[in-house]
């Protein structure tokens, strides 16, 4: 039966929302209209949403297991982008004509959708960026340059993607700050008990990921944020790997900043979001200067527009923002708890199959309760790139390499892993093909 829909469970979310923290209280998710033909045959864990993704009509043989890198796009998102270009293509905010007003309404409507999706207090707290990377740079360069002083400390974790390390190294160098790293245990679980040792009066910010892109481990954000706030430090959450896959509530988390990308959650490339608390944004200086972010420009001075536009210099990625809005409407309709439950089942099945194969090493917690749909693995005597190449011969797309996670690879003492990651369109059959491909690799190298 279609377990994706039936076993919707409020307790299955990442620990990033009220619903997931208060087990059993339930979460209101609009039921999805579904017919028998929606189901994809093969396996118990089916994806009724596979047909929404045109790429599977183009490439029915595709087994796409690289959603942690970028997700596939549903037709409604492709249509939303095409509609903007084909039906009401105009610049936003400044046109005194109906076409521009329509574009502005769609662009700002997307902002409203995002605000509701992550539970922000106001749409003023939603800033469009080019992606999660730019959102983190905005905080490091904007907030960091303004507030960090010589000797101040920044805490990161060894789980971070390079995009949440390098911007901090850049600002730390400029402002003469110290960066400290919170370590993980051998399963990749953060040693949160060591956080108290790292936190000092000089700690100004903790920047950490919600879900590791390398091994999928879910970090316990809430207690970390509480500890940081207790000594007056800010917290930035890199939610690029969690927002697409699970319920998220920024007011519950109480984080100061949160960054994510559109393209990992069914949206277009070139769009991302920075959420920040309104008070912080009001007091922050702009990051980039240009059109749209000013109120008035004179020869000697300029005054800033209101938030969020103060942080959106130049013509924004209009089509991309509208596409992201459409993606969130689509995901909301399915229900984020439903997606989390689906991926949990796929991961559990993958763990079960791969753990049985001798010579396969699984990295990470190997526990669906604290792991998102990301599974890093290795095969004895075979380099991950060879694994990925052999998988590709069978149209199975996985990632191999360090996944922009060189600190984590160093921690585990390995140069690279092979990584499979799941999303709502994956099925149990995909997982079984993954396991078969592992056996094939072993056979070739036997």
């Amino acid at each position: 039966m279609a377990t994706l829909i039936q076993n919707r469970s409020a307790s299955s979310g990442l620990v990033g929302s009220r619903a997931s923290a208060t087990k059993g209280r339930g979460v209101s998710v609009r039921p999805v209209q579904r017919t028998a033909s929606d189901r994809t045959r093969g396996g118990n864990v089916v994806s009724p949403r596979r047909k929404d993704f045109p790429i599977f009509q183009e490439r029915p043989e595709l087994v796409y297991l690289d959603s942690a890198a970028t997700s596939l796009k549903p037709k409604c998102v492709i249509d939303a982008v095409a509609d903007y270009y084909g039906k009401y293509s105009a610049n936003v905010h400044r046109g005194i004509y109906r076409l521009s007003e329509e574009a502005t309404a769609a662009y700002e409507g997307a902002r409203k959708t995002i605000q509701q999706f992550i539970g922000a207090k106001s749409e003023k707290e939603i800033i469009f960026t080019r992606g999660a990377t730019e959102a983190i740079n905005l905080v490091a360069q904007g907030w960091g340059s303004q507030y960090l002083k010589s000797g101040d400390e920044i805490i990161l974790t060894v789980l971070e993607h390079h995009s949440n390390i390098v911007p901090w190294q850049m600002v730390a160098k400029k402002k003469n700050c110290v960066i400290k790293y919170l370590d993980v245990d051998d399963r990749g679980v953060l040693k949160t008990d060591q956080l108290s040792k790292l936190l000092t009066r000089r700690t100004k910010i903790i920047a950490l990921t919600h879900v590791s892109n390398g091994i999928g481990v879910i970090n316990p954000l809430k207690p970390i944020i509480q500890k940081a706030h207790a000594i007056g430090a800010k917290v930035l959450v890199d939610a690029a790997q969690s927002t697409p896959h699970s319920p998220l509530d920024v007011q519950y988390l109480d984080c100061d900043f949160l960054a994510f990308s559109g393209h990992k959650m069914c949206g277009p490339t070139g769009i991302g979001v920075l959420y920040a608390k309104e008070k912080i944004l009001q007091e922050m200086e702009p990051f980039l200067g240009g059109g749209d972010m000013i109120l008035e420009v004179t020869k000697t001075n300029s005054t800033w527009n209101e938030i969020p536009w103060k942080f959106e210099a130049g013509t924004p990625p209009i089509a991309e923002a509208i596409g992201l809005g459409a993606a969130l409407v689509y995901l909301r309709e399915i229900g984020m708890s439903t997606i989390r439950t689906h991926e949990k089942k796929l991961l559990a099945h993958a763990l079960e199959l791969l753990q049985k194969i001798p010579g396969v090493t699984l990295y990470g917690p190997c526990d669906p309760e604290i792991q998102a749909g990301v599974l890093s693995f290795g095969i004895d005597g075979v380099h991950p790139h060879d694994i990925a190449s052999i998988f590709d011969e069978d149209n199975i797309a996985i990632r191999a390499g360090h996944h922009c996670n060189m600190l984590l690879m160093e921690r585990f003492g390995i140069p690279a892993t092979a990584r499979a990651s799941f999303y709502l369109y994956n099925t149990e059959t995909d997982v079984e093909k993954l396991a078969q491909a592992v056996l094939k690799v072993k056979k070739i190298f036997s």
Binding site: G381, H383, P384, A400, G401, H402, M409, I414, P415
Partner: protein
Amino acid sequence: MNLYSSLIVDLSKNPVNKRSIPDANITGSGANVTCGDRVRMYAKTDAQGKILDCSFEGEGCAITMASASLLTEEAKGKLLAEISEWNSLNVFQWLGTELGPGRVKCGLIPLETLQEALKRHSPSAPRPQKRQALSSRARVSRAHAEKQL
């Protein structure tokens, strides 16, 4: 395309010339950080610039290991000037397969590392392959295009 011929798999499991040459007069290291491939190349030449022995150490994917084994075997007895003429097409010929854009770097690291070491060894030597060595991807595309024509 079946990239993993028995030759490539065998050489990755049982590489040849995978050892150091303590009295090598030409050495160089190269890495493909994205993949985690690392090689160190060794060559020992006589006064005329003829390669008496050639070897490598390192770790990496099957393509890199096989390519390094084949290169070191081919290099023995050749003149330095000849080696600096080699390019991706030679590597594809030894491997018995062309490499796509995703894997071409793996296959070329040993040759590019050795050529860089030769350049340092004799900077005045003619280096007609320098530009090609840097744009291996472009050459692969060109090779593909020519094949299709």
